[in-house]
Symmetry: C2
Subunit: 340 residues, 2 copies
DNA sequence: TGTTAGCACTCTAAACTCCCGAGTGCTAAT
DNA sequence: ATTAGCACTCGGGAGTTTAGAGTGCTAACA
């Protein structure tokens, strides 16, 4: 769609004003505050055009204009010139990410805290999915007479542990047997193959000894499932409660409170930066909100997502800028970690 | 304070009606719905007395009565006959707690989910504090060339792990040295003594070798700190958003979103079951809410807390009943686990 | 003395009306 | 193509009215 430059400038002005104030804006105010060198009548004509194009609407006949979802869409597609954040902000992000401790999980937790803090809206970060990963090795630590901890280390450097409990007393020898037998089989296997079927054939191949293993194997399966499934960290959802639209906020809270739902959000996200506005969202709970999402990369492959969720009139420019910078740095820092 | 039986019954009726409907209730409705054998005029007299006693108030001169905080207080102190939950509910609680996996943390997570589900309000559960616990032992698992996992096992059977990373390549021998040296010192020590001061004297006593240890010791300190500090699991806070009082809900969300704040809530709770109504709460964020809390016991000692947070007009009877039963069962099930 | 019927009184919330003013679209002049 | 001018629209705030739920008081009654 080809649209005259002045129309675009006016559209941008309306949207940015509305994002800032939340109030419908009319031709006169627009003329005064934005310093256009044209009369309000001319602006009115343009506004009428933009309205009939479907980019703006009026809450009622005699009110100012408000962007429609299509308007926001055009804005983010064509009128958003995103810059890197200020040096001060960049420094701040760096320092906060560096301060997180040595687990990727904690870095991602910091990402979501950081995003919601800087943008004053809800933020989400997902851990890398383990779907590409393989078992590197599995270790055992005895923690009690009947209990032990299984530690799974994946080829991607992720570490997951799981407690299990047997109904017989565990001896160190037994753990050595478990360790050797299990690692011989699973080392190098894709995580998703460590499932119930595998456990059965594995236990069966040990005859009587196999009877001692189900608890241990169950723990292994669960550890793999943990490593395979992405976890989702959220922050600042309550901030939305202070920003007007109660039902939108409530729905977002609902969505983010449900781990399964929020995980699903990122399952089929295309990589790169994406913005979903209102009804464009896959979840009906986001029908009145916007989601801005970007991927972070580990070894040049998209690993997980950072995202913010806010009202339709969220600060898209700032959001994209900060999202992309944070994602870049988070990827780099996690890479350093794993390289070790 | 001595109060005639009939007055008490009327007070109870008003409060229970208000809890159910949220509407002020007047003398006539009270007479009709609760089947008192006295005229509405008589009820009016009693209501006037209860009002001047400070247990009831009127939103405006010509409206029905609503309980005051003092009214709720009298109600929970004197008029609450708590029964065990139904068999069906008991079964349900049991099965849900059994289904949680073998870590106390997961059981407590289930508790909070369960409470908020059954009572439709926000629920909280805290893990046992480790303040009484001592180090049982510490184990190491190598997870990468430069990284390892430290596993802390406490005398209370709690297991915490922590990753750490050194800037030199780790060898199995080195871990064996760490293991032996560290355990010799710390086994049996109270968790809170494993702190920076300890780490310094410990590292110092190893001379040059001590220079290799700071990362490992840092991890040990953090694991102990983890084990020492109670974690707080919350569920269902969003349910409050559907129950009228928005600012109360918002404040609760705020409180529960902040781990430090919500931990503080339970720091000095007396054991047993307690109810804090409105301004009785220590946190100003709960000024418009009620908190009902009970302890669960491990080996006959109070270990942690289960609680629900809801509006002043929460269903106190159901809440206490379900809280106490859940706490009892949770304690028992955790005991079984740890006994192993 | 405790209970009750009757009644005048109070007060809110909902419905209705009125009107200001911001904002519009159209027309005619530049 | 732009602009000034103007009649028109309409939401929402202010003021008014009204219905009805609920009260407290009084006087009669058991």
């Amino acid at each position: 769609m080809k649209i005259a430059l002045r129309k675009q400038q006016i559209l941008a002005a309306v949207i940015e004003s509305y994002i800032q104030t939340g109030e419908p804006i009319g031709s006169k105010t627009l003329q005064n505050t934005q310093g256009f060198n044209i009369s309000s009548a001319t602006i009115r004509n343009e506004l009428a055009d933009l309205t009939s194009l479907g980019f703006l609407k009026q809450p009622h006949t005699s009110a100012g204009r408000v962007p429609t979802e299509a308007g926001y869409r055009f804005y983010v597609d064509n009128l958003l010139d995103v810059k890197e954040p200020d040096e001060r902000v960049r420094r701040y992000i760096d320092s906060r990410l560096r301060a997180s401790d040595d687990a990727p999980e904690h870095i991602l937790e910091s990402c979501s805290a950081l995003l919601s803090e800087l943008l004053s809206i809800a933020a989400v970060a997902t851990t890398p999915s383990g779907s590409e990963a393989r078992v590197h090795k599995i270790r055992f630590v005895q923690t009690g007479r009947y209990t032990s901890m299984l530690v799974l280390i994946t080829s991607a450097g992720m570490v997951k542990s799981r407690l299990f409990r047997c109904d017989f007393a565990i001896t160190p020898e037994m753990l050595t047997v478990f360790d050797r037998a299990l690692n011989e089989q699973v080392a190098g296997m894709r995580l998703e193959y460590i499932n119930k079927a595998f456990a059965q054939t594995f236990a069966a191949s040990f005859g009587e000894l196999g009877l001692l293993m189900p608890d241990m194997l169950m723990a292994a399966i669960e550890a793999c499932r943990d490593a395979l499934s992405t976890s989702v960290y959220t922050s600042g959802a309550t901030k939305l409660l202070y920003q007007g639209d109660l039902i939108a906020a409530r729905n977002v809270l609902e969505l983010l409170g449900d781990k399964t739902e929020s995980r699903r959000l990122f399952e089929n996200m295309p990589e790169g930066t994406n913005i979903y506005i209102g009804k464009e969202n896959s979840s009906p709970l986001l029908r009145h909100s916007s989601l801005a999402q970007t991927s972070y990369y580990i070894d040049n492959r998209p690993a997980g997502a950072l995202a913010v969720i806010g009202p339709l009139r969220m600060n898209y420019k700032g959001a994209v800028s900060i999202l992309e910078y944070t994602a870049k740095r988070a990827g780099e820092i996690i890479e350093e970690l794993i390289a070790g």
